[in-house]
């Protein structure tokens, strides 16, 4: 095969890839539109109870009016800040705990049964206690967002620390490196991929903690909007909150993926 033929083949290969990509995108867009169209029709033609399921144009109108009166901005930004704070706190604390457990083998063996119990317990059940202890406000909700992810982060990251290639540690030790150097030069960077993958899980978990926290505190935020809408039977409001949550949690996930690309090399 000569070089011009090879180039031609390559061009057609690239074209195939391009076409494949477009077909996938087209399907994705189609499903999105189909979903909203069917939802709209189902609501308007009363195939389903519009009181319960509402329909997109109604949600859209509510979105606009809430946007104009400024209340949507407030609720969304409160929830978003709480979630980001809880997410960061949970991940950082979990990683620190994991580092402590790695540092002392004895501590990790002593802590083991307690971690198992804490991990299997549903953390949202702690909600009422947290709210009484920290007061019904931001602090409690952030604490809930963090508490739900901190134990699982500890366990996953500790496991990652523990399974780092032992020969990396041997290299450090053969140069006379101490425990701190071993951690900084080998254990931590080798565990970055595991830490990033817990970040992805923690994005979802923090949203759960924060929304449940807002259910309980019932003051502000998207969780409050859901509970309020439920109580006054305004399901358009509930669905609007859900749409907002879907959008912002996806954005957070994409941001974590972006961080992953920046941080991880092969």
């Amino acid at each position: 095969m000569n070089s011009s033929q090879l180039k031609k083949q390559h061009a057609s290969y690239l074209l195939d890839l391009q076409i494949e990509k477009r077909i996938v995108l087209a399907w994705q867009v189609f499903i999105l539109f189909a979903f909203f169209t069917i939802w709209e029709l189902a609501g308007r033609l009363s195939w389903v109870d519009p009181l319960l399921f509402s329909y997109p144009s109604k949600v859209g109108n509510l979105f606009l009016s809430k946007l104009v009166d400024g209340s949507l901005m407030i609720h969304t930004s409160v929830t978003l800040l709480e979630t980001i704070a809880g997410f960061i706190l949970g991940t950082v604390l979990g990683t620190l705990f994991a580092a402590g457990l790695w540092w002392s083998r004895k501590a990790s063996r002593i802590a083991d049964p307690y971690l198992v119990v804490l991990n299997s317990m549903p953390k949202v059940a702690l909600g009422p206690i947290i709210i009484v202890a920290l007061g019904p406000g931001y602090l409690s909700i952030i604490a809930m967002g963090a508490s739900i992810s901190v134990i699982i982060t500890t366990l996953v990251v500790y496991h990652a620390f523990h399974t780092v290639e032992p020969n990396f540690v041997k290299v450090i030790r053969s140069f006379g490196g101490n425990k701190k150097q071993t951690f900084v030069e080998a254990i931590l960077p080798a565990s970055f991929p595991a830490i990033i993958s817990t970040l992805k899980v923690n994005v979802g978990l923090s949203w759960v903690g924060v929304i449940v926290g807002e259910f309980l505190v019932s003051e502000k935020g998207l969780g409050y909007m859901i509970i309020y809408g439920f109580q006054v039977f305004n399901f358009t409001l509930v669905l609007l909150s859900l749409v907002m949550i879907a959008i912002f949690s996806s954005i957070m996930y994409l941001m974590v993926e972006w961080i992953e690309r920046k941080l991880i090399r092969n």
Partner: protein
């Protein structure tokens, strides 16, 4: 006074089920500038011996003295090269080479420049900003050699450093390592299960028996073979004879 004096060391590993003696009453000496190979079947405690000399572990009984000083912990005078390169994938080649200097707080301009010069000598200066996964196995092991030599150890411990390489790369690297150590007058202890490699590279071959590891015999490699490169040794007429002698001896201890 010998350069390295391993004096009747015994080392046992304890598990719940058993106490296993890995090496027993091992005694040997290495003079400065010598290249010694430890040859033996798997299970003869070869790697354990290196770990003990590197100070990573303490022998159960016995002492190891380097220049008349007892080895109690890892130190700058001993460099350890592992079976595989174990370069850190998140560090560039240059950063990997500087690791030992960084860990021992010796990152001076002079030390850095010497290491970079060494990298250049190994034909690796083009890839110093690259990451390990962009390099071939032979290149990576060369980087590992630079990393080990960067802290200027007097004694080099080589734990089957060529075993993971393809045959051709292995032969080339044997030559490179032998000439590098010779010009720098380094003392080296090579652990291997490859008879040919042991003959080609060493001044003396120490044959170990297994369970527990003990010295079975010591072979002196004749002077005319010591002075030529490992590749030339492999091609020399009496290579086959030495190979045969050691082979038969090794068979007896299997």
């Amino acid at each position: 006074m010998s350069f390295l004096h391993v004096d009747s060391i015994t080392h046992a590993y304890f598990t719940k089920e058993s106490a296993k003696v890995a090496i027993s009453e091992l005694t040997f000496v290495i003079e400065e500038g010598e290249f010694i190979s430890l040859l033996g079947p798997s299970g003869c405690g070869k790697s354990t011996i290196l770990s003990l000399i590197a100070g990573l572990q303490q022998p159960t009984t016995g002492t190891i003295k380097l220049k008349n000083k007892k080895i109690t912990s890892p130190n700058n005078q001993v460099g350890y090269m592992l079976q595989q390169d174990y370069l850190f994938p998140w560090k560039t080649i240059e950063e990997n080479c500087m690791l030992g200097l960084k860990l021992t707080n010796q990152l001076t301009v002079e030390n850095k420049e010497r290491t970079l010069g060494f990298l250049d000598e190994m034909g690796l200066s083009d890839v110093k900003k690259a990451y390990p996964n962009q390099l071939s196995g032979g290149m990576r092991q060369r980087v590992a050699l630079v990393r080990t030599l960067a802290t200027q150890p007097d004694l080099l411990l080589l734990d089957e450093p060529f075993s993971a390489l393809d045959y051709q790369t292995k032969l080339k690297l044997e030559n490179l390592v032998a000439s590098t150590l010779k010009t720098r007058k380094k003392t080296a202890l090579l652990v291997t299960h490859d008879i040919g490699e042991a003959i080609a590279m060493s001044d003396r071959v120490v044959l170990l028996s297994k369970h527990p590891g003990k010295i079975a015999r010591v072979f002196e490699i004749p002077k005319h073979l010591r002075d030529i490169t490992p590749f030339e040794v492999r091609n020399s007429p009496d290579f086959g004879m030495h190979f045969q002698t050691i082979w038969e001896e090794l068979e007896a201890y299997e």
